[in-house]
Symmetry: C2
């Protein structure tokens, strides 16, 4: 198995990416192909001991910046790590692509270079949200900010396969993110999507209000990419702010500091269960290849876990299963 990794993607590339890749090859015995500026990757690799046969480098002279327009990767930077990595994935012998780089560029490049699966019109980014009952798979969190009802239905079908094969939920339930439980709620998009889901997807159980996302009421949640992205970012920002606020309050009071020390292991267990880096990358579903997008601020651990997630998806044959589902349900 060979996982292609965008060595230049993310706010701390190539350092964090290379460090995570080294950890991954040691821990999971997968082959990793690092794509990016060769000299810079080699320089980073020098810092570590690792089985040399498990890491190869493919040179890509260009770098897509985090704030480049999504289409730059197709129109201008054809020699970027994203473009070259994606082209590698299309070849025989490469199984998945992982990037912590520019999300829009990854979506554009994978749509353009890999193409769409038959039966899917638009790709969707899936994301695992922590919840009180294990976790919930939410799609789309930002690939498609102008979803149509049929796209939402396609997300539901792909989410179902993902939950079954990767998350080990044989009979997953699917909810539609909305501002109320009643089917008349939401904008025209949600109302039509609700109708379509009810008609065509047996796993659909109805609308789910946003305050229930973290309660784990359903295994999967489908939504438009704009709303999904807002949901993801609100959760992220809130977690960060609550952490800072708590720290600020605690530091005011010596007894509280002692309390925090005693609480430390519980706090870190709780933090772990809401920490994105524990879950690895977010799968981009709908394109004809296994693509995982990691957080731009990915730590080495997050990269390692994204590679682990990619490995699991290859082993579970997710792509083939999604293709089968979409072919029978076209």
């Amino acid at each position: 198995m060979k996982i292609v990794v965008d060595a230049m993607g993310g706010d701390f590339a190539p350092q964090n990416v290379v460090a995570g890749a080294v950890d991954a090859v040691k821990q999971y015995k997968v082959c990793v192909t690092l794509v990016g500026i060769k000299e810079r990757i080699e320089e980073e690799l020098k810092k570590y001991q690792f089985p040399k046969d498990l890491i190869e480098i493919v040179h890509a002279p260009e770098v897509v910046a985090m704030d480049d327009a999504a289409t730059v990767v197709i129109r201008q930077k054809k020699q970027s790590s994203i473009s070259i990595g994606m082209a590698l994935l299309k070849k025989e012998g490469y199984d998945a692509f992982v990037s912590a780089g520019n999300t829009g560029a990854c979506v554009a490049a994978s749509t353009f270079i890999l193409g769409m699966i038959k039966g899917v019109d638009r790709p969707g980014i899936g994301c695992i949200f922590p919840s009180l009952k294990k976790f919930t798979f939410v799609i789309d969190v930002g690939a498609n900010t102008a979803a149509k009802p049929e796209h939402i239905l396609q997300y539901a079908k792909m989410a179902k396969v993902y939950a079954q094969s990767v998350l080990n939920r044989p009979n997953p339930t699917i909810g539609l993110l909305n501002i109320g439980e009643e089917e008349c709620k939401g904008t025209g998009l949600e109302q039509e999507a609700h109708k379509l889901l009810e008609e065509k997807e047996p796993c659909f159980v109805g609308n789910l209000e946003a305050n229930e996302v973290f309660a784990g009421k359903t295994d999967c949640i489908v939504c438009d990419g704009y709303v999904g992205n807002i949901t993801l970012k609100v959760a992220e920002g809130m977690m960060e702010s609550v952490g800072k606020l708590l720290k600020r309050e605690i530091m005011k009071n010596p007894i509280a500091i002692l309390g925090a020390v005693l609480l430390k292991s519980s706090l870190s267990d709780a933090k772990k269960s809401v920490d994105y880096s524990e879950y690895g990358g977010a799968p981009l579903l709908g394109v004809d290849g296994l693509v995982l997008i990691s957080h731009g601020r990915s730590s080495p651990k997050a990269i390692k876990n994204a590679i682990r997630a990619a490995k699991e998806q290859v082993e579970h044959n997710v792509l083939k299963k999604i293709k089968e589902e979409m072919a029978t349900n076209g």
Copy 2:
């Protein structure tokens, strides 16, 4: 000053509403007019000692259920506490209306009975979000789920006046909630709203990503009601789940329990700064009257604080100031 309060609104009405109203008249010396089923209100009032001249009852035989359609209040339940309360507000001598009842019905009744302010097309619900730097005023969190760019501009102008006169921010900054900082981000709505805001509202400082909502980067945030509602509910649900998760982790470990005891005052200070009930009701801006909507699960304290917030808005002359702003900026 007379504040009209919907005694039948909310999941715990009339108990919590009456209890909160009693506390409010004692603490703030305002007159409260409780609207609802007379016998039930009297029964609750019997439980308390309070200055009798500060509470009056106006009978309303019908009750709008929390899950009634929004328009029920206009078409069928014309004798409900919401309809009758809103009609009272239109009369001389009544200054504000507070309800923890059906939000959609409150919006519909206030639009229909009070009418819109000149220069405003759609009402918006404003909500005070806790943030690391005091708090942020977000509008709209759910009145108008099909906002147009000009509605967003109107929200910005009203938010500015609200921040200046109620929140004591003489030069408030306004951000547009979006999925990226660049002006090209978001759907057509956000792109056009961005252009309009830049052109017509000097307090506008640009897009704000959802993960920055709680960082307090701007004094006000404007958005479509659908997205605003999702944002509010995600934050609410997350707070609740994080609390439960933390409790669960702590209970596993006796040392952590001791830690939590020592931390208690810091935790409750932190909780207080993110607790909606501390901030009182959410103002419904754009209608020709002061209307505050409280959370359906409002505690007596939340009701009391909503009445306090109503009192402050009357004292600050918010309605008049918003009318002036909208008239000059039509």
